[in-house]
Symmetry: C2
Subunit: 345 residues, 2 copies
DNA sequence: CTGAAAGCGCTAACAT
DNA sequence: ATGTTAGCGCTTTCAG
């Protein structure tokens, strides 16, 4: 069977408390060098590893952090998930992924998850509203760090200033001569009061231009799992319908890169050339945007820095819950490519 | 604090064993209808949820399954991960993701993971070799179901017959007049004895054609995490170097779609037209392949069926470890698009 | 510096 | 049909 603390203790001729102390490196107690060495050696040669369940029961801490994400899809979500797994596991924690995209019962689901296997802390990615709802309903006792473009300010957070990135994008389009600049956005609830959209509205107004929306029906984007048809397909369909009916804008700025890729394909379908006939800018910095021809302009988000910072914040908070609120705001970066500008490709 | 079984028991005026029995629905015991109803009601109104750590300690089962994957990246890995999470969580299990891509210490890492929080079972995706290594070293006691194109036959498995898909692809290229058909493949260890490659070798030989390889250096693909430059970039570079030096093949068949996308871009860089000058076929069925222009031909894998089947197999095995080996082999499907054929797009 | 013992919340014999 | 009790493997007072 599995090796227990007792097994190690017997073999090393000490009590299990001693083994526990050695292996956890408790500082307050002094243990003789020789005992330490002996115990460590025995533990290693027996290939001993503490049973986390038992430890969790004894300490009340699970050494697990929850990762809240809207979905797990081959887009920026998975980039962030991969990074968080990598970073957090290095610190000896496990990661438990919770998807909040089953919109209808998200709260209830979260409630279950939280109660069944209490986590020591939560990293929430782009889920400000969900976080606020959980807080309001007293669902969570574990500390939360919120990160991404849609952060609540009620917790520690590592935000990304998408507003500035989006403003840069609109300005760039204007400066390269575009006037009819449309914004493509999913109509679903989880993106209410989106900074990209606010930037779009503000900058368009300042420039004296008329906002123009291309919507993706809420129904399509509301329950996005690996099983569904993706946002790309819906974006493609939307543009295929929209442009013949309304004529072509000079530029389309998209809520994210998945949509931009769908739009890209629709424009090719319709025989419109980028950047000559129409300019295209996405958002998020998904790597594949660079592989289209022309490459698709986008707003690159500093995901790695964001994840590392968030985990640092969470560790601080777990260690001492009384520290003042931790805040950071990272800047994304507009990358102009061939889809919106004749210069580069 | 958290609600315990005892709290519920007190409030319902029963013992905790009764509560436990009611909530777990033990069949062998009979409990009065009224008690059942009362306990359930109290539990619900107190928002009681069992502590998994305590349960795990008592039962020796964690209600957690390990998901072994090579990496977490915005490619087919994340499609599969999203599906597994979805499917497995619905059965009340937690999922613990383990990445085996840190090649050097994969075994050691796995060893640690396995011992620290024992899982009830493991779903291993595309990791046959790693699975075999773990088996050989007696690292695993939990049952394993291996799924994907690289399965070991030593466990229950849900394989995908990529050999046939790849053979179809080569045949298709030949039939549309291609003769110099190159195969692009990463040179790293985790794909030794790959069915695609075997199919390539066999079919080329049968057709009397000379195999031709475009390699991606092992160093690049060996430690693929979210932090690294992706395979796409390496594929692009490889082709940018290869074709000027060796002239252009009539067709390139790629180990996966990420590579195909990199190749796509390199061909555009070099001014080569698809499908006129050269044909391109990828493998895996990543959705974005459809959004390039021309759309990239690929081999679509039945991921959803695979995941569901694998979980079924694992549940069977967990329930009764003595059942005979469970095997399934699913067929992928070649999808011919504009990158390899003038007809469709 | 080390050991003994209580207890974390739950399940599963074993009683009744 | 329900209650009592003995652990599961670990941490952590409290003794010594």
């Amino acid at each position: 069977m599995r090796i227990t603390l007792q097994d190690v203790a017997s073999k090393a001729n000490v009590s299990c408390s001693t083994v526990s102390r050695v292996l956890n490196g408790s500082d307050d107690r002094h243990i003789s060098e020789s005992t330490i060495r002996r115990v460590q050696e025995v533990a290693r040669e027996m290939n001993y590893h503490a049973n986390r369940a038992a430890r969790a029961l004894a300490t009340g801490r699970t050494n697990t952090v929850g990762l809240w994400t809207y979905a797990v899809t081959p887009a920026y979500y998975s980039v962030v998930i991969g990074m968080v797994l990598h970073i957090v596991k290095k610190s000896g924690y496990e990661v438990q992924i919770m998807q909040s995209c089953q919109a209808a019962n998200a709260l209830q689901q979260t409630n279950m998850d939280l109660h069944s296997w209490p986590v020591d802390g939560i990293i929430a990615f782009d889920n400000g509203q969900h976080v606020e709802a959980c807080l309001k309903n007293n669902l969570v006792t574990a500390p939360i760090v919120n990160m991404g473009a849609h952060c609540t300010k009620q917790t520690d957070y590592v935000g990304i200033d998408v507003y500035s990135g989006a403003a840069d994008a609109i300005t760039h389009l204007f400066q390269s001569g575009r006037r009819r600049i449309a914004y493509m956005v999913p109509g679903n609830a989880h993106v209410q009061s989106d900074p990209r959209e606010n930037a779009y509205i503000d900058v368009m107004q300042r420039l004296g231009l008329q906002p123009e929306y291309i919507y993706i029906p809420e129904a399509y984007t509301n329950s996005y799992t690996g099983f569904n048809k993706s946002w790309r397909a819906h974006a493609r369909n939307a543009v295929q319908d929209y442009i013949p009916a309304n004529g072509s804008p000079d530029a389309i700025f998209c809520y994210n890169d998945e949509l931009a890729i769908g739009v890209y394909r629709a424009l090719r379908d319709l025989g419109l050339r980028m950047p000559d006939d129409i300019a295209l800018v996405g958002c998020d910095g998904m790597e594949e945007t660079e592989y289209f021809d022309p490459a698709i302009s986008t707003i690159i988000q500093p995901y790695e820095a964001m994840c590392k910072r968030a985990w640092k914040f969470l560790q601080n908070r777990i260690e001492d819950s009384s520290i003042p609120q931790q805040k950071a705001l990272l800047k994304p970066k507009l990358v102009v490519r061939g889809s919106s500008c004749r210069v580069s490709s």
